[in-house]
């Protein structure tokens, strides 16, 4: 029960993009088309779930055990970079169509702050293994949700009459603000 609540909290209430500002760059960059947004969301969800497990393991079995917490940041980012590389090689070998669909989005994930943020939050909040995994999956799905919703709105926006200076990023940010406002309406759902 507690895990289900945690899951819902990271999909909706503590949405990574709209309430914690993690992964805003791809949120603004890759939200022009729904298909691209969905592929990106899938790739991120996948990497986030693995990162949650890997960073938890490295943190508890290596860093804490040998008292190397000061190296946390360097180690986490290296773990993420190598994971992304591994996932890329694996997907390329196993499923070429999926690899083509994810294409350039995979390498970009390394610098997505949602991933590093996830690893850091798990270590900061001292989550156990299951909580970390749920946070990874929930956060990834929440990210996909926000991205796909935004892409849907932006596809419609092409037909709208927007004042010249606001075109592009300006109006996208205003829409993101309205979405964040909507999502904050769920805030009372989980205490």
């Amino acid at each position: 029960m507690e895990l289900i609540l945690l899951f819902i909290s990271f999909v909706i209430v503590n949405n990574f993009v709209l309430s914690q500002f993690l992964g805003v760059c791809p949120f603004l960059g890759v939200s022009k088309k729904i298909d691209a947004a969905f592929s990106m969301g899938l790739a991120v969800t996948f990497v986030m779930s693995i990162t949650a497990v890997a960073s938890w393991a490295v943190n508890n079995f290596v860093l804490k055990r040998f008292g190397l917490e000061i190296l946390e940041y360097v180690v986490f980012i290296l773990v993420i970079a190598s994971l992304v590389q591994l996932v890329e090689m694996f997907v390329k070998k196993v499923s070429p169509p999926l690899y083509r669909a994810l294409g350039i989005y995979l390498p970009l994930i390394t610098t997505n702050c949602a991933i590093l943020g996830l690893a850091l939050l798990i270590s900061l909040k001292e989550y156990n293994f299951l909580q970390g995994l749920v946070m990874g999956i929930g956060g990834g799905i929440g990210f996909t949700l926000a991205l796909v919703l935004m892409a849907g709105i932006r596809e419609e926006l092409e037909a709208a009459d927007i004042p010249e200076p606001m075109k592009g990023a300006g109006i996208t940010l205003i829409i993101a603000g309205i979405m964040a406002l909507g999502f904050s309406g769920f805030a009372g759902l989980i205490k």
Partner: protein
């Protein structure tokens, strides 16, 4: 101003190629920590320090780092400086470090820093790279200063913690929450767009 002169490399980051308003890089810390001016300024200074130091090191090592592992090398160099900044803040400014939370370590994946290394420092001389880093840092600092000032003045009625709004002013709580951050930055981009349009029509 001609491209390639030291003055140009420094000043382009402040207005013409402003990392926030034009390149739209480093959005996460920009939006997340700017609910008060002091946090925004601290974040800008921390990120600028990391940017300048990494540019210095990477541009001096640019002939040694093999291009196939350059991204990984950049990230390790950046992460080292971020660890330094983080320990420094924890030791001397504990309150700020606490309120910035995970956003100090997240400087590692701030695209401004990695972007400048990839686009500039790995191809240019040490002097130019440091100037470029100073310019980009200044542009980042100014954008964050404006954004956090607007949010703090309307959200709390204060600026750097000093009361600036009259007593009857009721703080707009929305400005310190997530939607306020998006709205303010969106409007800032719009204002920047108006300036740019006027300029391009005038020329």
């Amino acid at each position: 101003m001609k491209k390639g002169t030291p003055v140009y490399e420094f000043s382009k980051g402040i207005w013409k190629d402003n990392p926030i308003l034009v390149q739209l890089l480093g959005m996460c810390p920009t939006l997340a920590v700017t609910s008060t001016v002091i946090n925004g300024v601290a974040m800008a200074l921390a990120a600028s320090f990391v940017l300048i130091m990494s540019s210095l090191i990477i541009s001096s090592l640019r002939k040694i780092i093999p291009s196939s592992v350059r991204i990984a090398s950049f990230i390790v160099i950046i992460a080292t400086f971020v660890t330094l900044v983080d320990s420094f803040l924890k030791a001397y400014f504990y309150d700020i470090s606490k309120s910035l939370g995970p956003f100090i370590p997240l400087i590692i994946v701030n695209c401004i820093i990695l972007g400048r290394q990839e686009a500039f420092a790995s191809k240019n001389t040490v002097k130019m790279s440091v100037l470029d880093a100073f310019g980009m840092g200044a542009g980042f600092f100014l954008s964050l200063l404006v954004l956090s000032s607007v949010r703090e003045i309307f959200g709390f009625g204060t600026w750097f913690g000093i009361q600036v709004m009259p007593d009857f002013f009721k703080p707009w709580t929305i400005m310190i929450m997530a939607p306020g951050a998006f709205f303010t930055l969106g409007i800032m981009l719009g204002v920047y767009g108006i300036f740019k349009m006027k300029k391009s029509k005038g020329v």
